[in-house]
């Protein structure tokens, strides 16, 4: 018995709604943290963003130094010397080597350190030593449990020293940095007025491209904030936000924290562009739909780079809050994002009212000639038309894009929108319309394949889609837009192909040992495993194997022969105790056809068409077929096992204690099972004298390949304890969950037999089958849990009905009335407590 323990799912914050209008359309990605994300505060994990910002700042400073010192110095060496030395190495370097002019062996080739320890760069060395020497005073301690406060006296002293060095220094590059350190040190000793004075008198009038000026401004903003000049601080932060990407996130956080009225900050702005930045910051902080920020930024600075990002945000909000629940039929994740979308009409209506207003703004953006990329407005307008099912309006907007040489991101987005509109325009999908779609689908396929080489950034490590925009879009397109069109036309096979194509956009190509005992069909989508009958599967095989496959069909079946990576894990002992796992990856050739034959054979088993099942299974390599259900992971002993076979025809008076056999017993794999069932069917006709035995064996075969048997994986690909509480889900559930055919066969066996003992057994087995038809109340789980805890169980009405029904099994009466004198009768009493309860009840009644 296999138990599937599951928890979750938890939505992926970077892929939790349908999105075809990608959030990364701006030329650079330096506003990535501000893309819309209704699930996290910033888009991209905070730590990642912060560490990326830190890396960016280090790189900027290192490049400035490399440029200053000349071509022989590599900026990576500067970065290493300044930021990436281990503490012990850094201490040794500082204490011993640099002061005496000697470098340790590990840093002898560092071009930066070699340069500054040369005779010509004494000033640079002096500055480097000074800056390293004060680091411990200004390092913001990450350990909040360190009770030591900042040594403000020592810091103040160093500030004075830095100032003295600054005034003496003639080199402009170093002078700026000394003044910066002075301001910084006063800042850390909380001498804010002194820090501000330094900035005002010595830094603010320096003309330079150096980013040190921006970092000094950051301190200035902090100082002004501390002394109560909130509006001034906020204004500065807005400037830093725009001009210094490495400090953008910090500026954003701090601007919001200051929380001063915008109107007050506007009074300090020198021009409209600066006002535009403030409107944009507020816009980035707005989770709900609204045009205010966009319109204000456009009004004040129509060329602002932030317009595209704000526009993207508004469209993504519509996708999250409206498009996705509408497409999913309101079966959505529920309460994530900012809305409980599916429940409130007012929320939906709000979006419906908003879309035309946003579209009107997009048209304005595209036609007024103020924004530098009018095509973005048209693309957005076309997409919004698509959302509104205005296909003609959408095509019109696309046609109005005059630029034939769109930059790549916009060109791709145009293709995506075109595909959506084209699909929307199709009333009936057939060969003609499929051919119309083919060029764009081929393009989409190419985009998906290109993304396969992208590494996921760490913030999307746990999701496969991460930044793979076109893979996610293709996945959603095939399953949510294209498949439903086929379903509407009752073309299940083509819909199934779309579902498979959708799953294969990013196919998790590894198969681990844990699922290798489920059968080959396990590798296929769940829809294939549960909803496709033999007719559908045969059609699919015909489509796939047809000699004259259309281009469209070839595209849909392209992934059938993609190689797979098999992951094998080894448990190795750890020297410190315990174990660790090592994995080996092997690339294997693959052909999904065999998986489809497994599904087909299984479908035939479900449909009791054993001859056909044999034929289907014979298309699969015998070893592989056997291996697919005879090796796996034993959850009881928590080990791998190999070559364990179900005894599919064994007689089971009890449902539990399903041990697999080490020998290849009858029905040891699906083919062998089908062959035996075929044989039994023949024998019923050719040897009618023993037909009862044959029916009995067939019934056992069915019972053992049901949910309750040890060979359940001959019928299904997944087993959970919840299955028995659900209503019939699939076409095979009436046998798999409720033993309809098995019961019939046990009765046939009983009728044809002349042995009372055997008949009694058949009735008992039929009773077991009948038991599986009684609806199990949902609180049965509670009952078991309660028993475990030793508390009293009080069944609800459903539970009481169940308790009664299970003890009033109609076959109990037959057993009692007709077979009470058999030996088996005693076995039945011993085996079944419900039967005992039935007998006790009837005995009581007869006494009365």
């Amino acid at each position: 018995m296999l138990l599937d323990l599951a928890c979750g799912p938890e939505p992926d914050p970077y892929d939790y709604y349908i999105s075809f209008f990608h959030n990364n359309l701006s030329p650079k990605n330096d506003y990535q943290p501000f893309y819309f994300n209704g699930y996290t505060f910033m888009n991209g994990d905070n730590y990642d963003i912060e560490s990326n910002n830190e890396n960016l700042e280090q790189e900027i400073n290192a490049k400035e130094w490399a440029h200053y010192l000349g071509k022989t110095v590599k900026f990576k060496d500067v970065q290493k010397a300044m930021y990436k030395l281990e503490d012990t190495v850094e201490a040794a370097l500082y204490n011993k080597f640099l002061i005496f002019g000697k470098l340790p062996d590990s840093l002898k080739h560092n071009t930066f350190l070699r340069k500054i320890t040369s005779r010509k760069e004494k000033s640079a060395l002096h500055y480097y030593l000074f800056a390293e020497g004060i680091e411990h005073l200004t390092k913001i301690r990450d350990d909040r449990w360190d009770p030591k406060p900042v040594d403000s006296v020592a810091v103040d002293k160093k500030a004075k020293e830095a100032f003295s060095l600054a005034t003496k220094e003639k080199d402009k590059f170093l002078k700026l940095r000394y003044y910066y350190q002075t301001q910084r040190l006063y800042h850390y000793s909380k001498n804010y007025l002194a820090a501000l004075k330094i900035h005002k008198d010595y830094i603010s009038n320096i003309q330079s491209d150096s980013h040190v000026l921006g970092w000094a401004l950051c301190y200035k903003a902090g100082e002004e904030w501390k002394i109560g000049m909130k509006n001034e601080a906020a204004y500065l932060l807005s400037q830093i936000f725009e001009k210094y990407p490495e400090r953008r996130l910090m500026a954003y956080h701090d601007f919001l924290s200051i929380n001063t009225p915008m109107e007050e900050v506007f009074k300090l702005c020198k021009n409209n562009r600066e006002k535009g930045v403030i409107y944009a910051i507020k816009g980035f902080h707005t989770p709900r739909i609204g045009l205010e920020a966009l319109k204000n930024v456009y009004k004040t600075d129509p060329k602002s780079a932030m317009i595209g990002i704000l526009l993207g945000r508004e469209i993504n909000k519509i996708e999250e809050g409206y498009l996705t629940p509408r497409t999913n039929g309101d079966e959505y994740y529920g309460n994530i994002g900012y809305y409980d979308h599916s429940k409130y009409d007012s929320v939906k209506k709000g979006f419906i009212r908003y879309i035309p207003k946003l579209k009107a703004f997009c048209e304005q953006l595209a036609t007024e000639g103020k924004y530098h990329e009018p095509e973005l407005g048209k693309l957005a307008s076309a997409y919004l038309s698509w959302i509104n099912k205005d296909t003609i309006g959408g095509f019109k907007a696309l046609a109005e894009i005059k630029n034939e040489h769109l930059r790549p991101k916009l060109a791709d987005e145009k293709q995506m929108i075109k595909l959506l509109l084209l699909t929307q325009s199709i009333k009936k999908i057939d060969t003609t319309t499929e051919n119309k779609l083919l060029p764009l689908l081929t393009w989409l396929d190419k985009k998906v394949k290109e993304e396969r080489n992208l590494k996921n950034l760490s913030f999307s490590d746990w999701s496969n889609y991460g930044l793979k925009y076109y893979s996610a879009s293709a996945r959603d397109f095939y399953v949510k837009l294209l498949a439903p069109m086929y379903f509407k036309q009752h073309d299940t096979a083509m819909a199934a192909l779309c579902i498979l194509k959708s799953e294969r956009t990013i196919y998790v190509k590894t198969i681990t040992k844990y699922y290798s005992d489920r059968g080959l069909g396990f590798a296929m989508p769940e829809f294939w495993r549960t909803e496709l009958n033999s007719k559908n599967l045969n059609k699919l095989l015909n489509l796939e194997q047809s000699a004259q496959k259309s281009g469209y069909l070839s595209l849909l079946t392209k992934e059938f022969r993609e190689p797979i990576t098999q992951k094998t894990e080894y448990e190795l002992p750890n020297t410190k105790g315990g174990y660790y796992y090592k994995a080996r990856f092997t690339i294997l050739k693959n052909d999904l056809t065999k998986n489809i034959y497994d599904l087909l054979g299984t479908a035939y088993l479900r449909e009791h068409k054993y001859v056909a099942a044999v034929s289907a299974f014979k298309h699969i390599d015998a070893k592989e077929l056997t291996h697919s259900t005879s090796s796996g992971f034993d959850y009881y002993s928590y080990t791998n096992y190999y070559n364990r076979y179900p005894d599919a025809f064994v007689e089971k008076l009890k449902d539990y204690d399903n041990k697999l056999s080490k020998k290849k017993v009858k029905g040891f794999n699906k083919l062998n099972f089908a062959m035996h069932m075929t044989q039994l069917e023949k024998l019923v006709k050719t040897d009618p004298k023993n037909a009862s035995k044959y029916y009995y064996d067939m019934a056992n075969g069915l019972y053992n390949t049901s949910y309750y048997g040890m060979a359940w994986f001959y019928t299904a690909y997944k087993w959970t304890s919840e299955d028995i509480y659900l209503k019939d889900r699939y076409y095979y559930d009436k046998d798999y969950l409720h033993e309809h055919t098995a019961e019939t066969l046990f009765l046939k066996a009983e009728k044809l037999s002349r042995s009372n003992e055997f008949k009694a057994k058949c009735i008992f087995m039929a009773a077991k089958c009948r038991q599986k038809k009684i609806k199990i109340p949902e609180d049965a789980e509670t009952k078991f849990a309660v028993y475990k805890l030793g508390a009293e169980y009080h069944p609800n009405i459903e539970g009481k009905l169940y308790n009664r029904a299970i003890r009033q099994n109609p076959y109990f009466k037959i057993l009692k009335n007709q077979y009470a004198k058999t030996k088996f009768y005693k076995t039945a009493i011993n085996e079944c407590s419900y039967f005992r309860d039935f007998l006790a009840t009837t005995a009581t009644r007869s006494k009365k």
């Binding site: 905070n46 730590y47 909040r144 449990w145 009770p147 406060p149 009225p261």
Partner: protein, 359 residues
């Protein structure tokens, strides 16, 4: 027998009644003395600011009342941003040392929510971090050690077990050997002892303030109101199974409402602002209405302020009520809190009167 022997002379009668009266008085005094034991009142203060700097006024108050120990907030403990573990928030910075004559009783405030999801291991780890941190701060205050640690936490039924476990871990830590552990006790915890439990500490300080409904619109004084106090406090104070000190308030604040909905406490508004007719209109009782938009205070026109402050009458009323209920021979009264601005409306005699009543 002559009639004169039966009748006392007037003078004798007078004497008789005098003696009887004096005897009665004496008996009465004796009886009364048997009920009322004069208590020794020790006055102390909480220091609740994040920077300790010697201020003349504050030092004078400490001196006048011969304050032996000052209850100093060392830090809050809460969770911060992305950190999952409890963290010190705004630990105190000692710019000056605490006067030699005054001992320090470090106080650590723990946000109740922090306790909810901690495991036993996490709680032990927290206890192990708190004590060295407190010790380091005590040394920064100019002291070599402390004799008592106080934990301030408004624990609830759901956090009770975790909080009590934390107290036990603290108590058994080597750094707490021969030291006292006290806790703050809120009125609801005194009243609902079954639900709140009795914390495993050596002593507690009963906070006789913040008893009303702060967020409810109205003219109540949520800091201190006799009717509220009496709902929680009666003979139960005498029956509490550990020594109790009393905390009394000396602070004030401006509680803001918009359309009768609570919007917060304004840290900036002082009483002098409220009586400025250009800024506020007096409505009645303790309610003031913003006459215009006041962005510096974060108020819109027509927003209302309920000014809550503590008068001496209030404090004396509390003292009068409490005095007969407290049976202990010694009582420590801790005023919240020591701040020269808050002390401005008061004179030494005000607190002396309170002490006298409690005595």
């Amino acid at each position: 027998m002559s009639g004169s022997s039966k009748i006392m002379s007037n003078a004798n009668t007078q004497n008789y009644y005098n003696i009887k009266f004096q005897a009665s008085c004496f008996l009465l005094i004796l009886t009364l003395s048997a009920c009322h034991h004069p208590k020794t009142i020790n006055t102390s203060f909480y220091f609740w600011k994040t920077v300790f700097k010697t201020k003349k006024t504050e030092s004078a108050w400490l001196q006048h009342f011969k304050v032996k120990s000052l209850y100093v907030r060392i830090m809050d403990i809460d969770r911060v941003e992305n950190r999952s573990e409890p963290t010190p928030i705004l630990p105190i910075l000692f710019k000056n040392k605490i006067p030699d004559s005054v001992k320090i009783i470090p106080v650590v405030f723990i946000v109740n929510d922090v306790l909810k999801s901690l495991t036993d291991t996490g709680i032990s780890a927290l206890a192990n971090k708190i004590l060295p941190f407190v010790q380091a701060k005590v040394e920064q205050a100019g002291k070599s050690d402390f004799e008592e640690l106080q934990i301030d936490c408004d624990w609830t039924a759901s956090t009770r077990e975790h909080f009590f476990y934390l107290l036990k871990q603290l108590k058994k830590h080597p750094m707490m050997r021969h030291k006292k552990l006290s806790v703050t006790l809120r009125l609801h915890q005194l009243k609902n002892q079954v639900k709140s439990g009795i914390p495993p500490a050596d002593a507690a300080i009963l906070m006789c303030y913040n008893m009303g409904n702060l967020r409810a619109y109205g003219n109540q004084n949520s800091i201190l109101e006799m009717s509220e106090l009496k709902k929680y406090l009666n003979q139960n104070i005498g029956a509490y199974p550990m020594p109790l000190a009393i905390g009394l308030p000396l602070f004030n604040w401006a509680v803001a409402f918009r359309n009768k909905e609570y919007i917060g406490i304004s840290k900036k508004i002082k009483f002098v602002d409220l009586i400025d007719k250009n800024q506020f209109i007096f409505i009645g009782d303790n309610i003031y209405k913003a006459a215009t938009d006041l962005p510096d205070f974060g108020l819109n026109k027509a927003d209302e302020i309920r000014w809550e402050a503590i008068s001496m009458d209030d404090l004396q009323a509390v003292a009068t009520y409490l005095s007969p209920l407290i049976k202990a021979n010694t009582l420590t009264v801790i005023y919240f809190h020591l701040d020269e601005n808050l002390l401005k409306p008061y004179h030494y005699t005000d607190l002396e009167k309170v002490n006298q009543i409690l005595h």
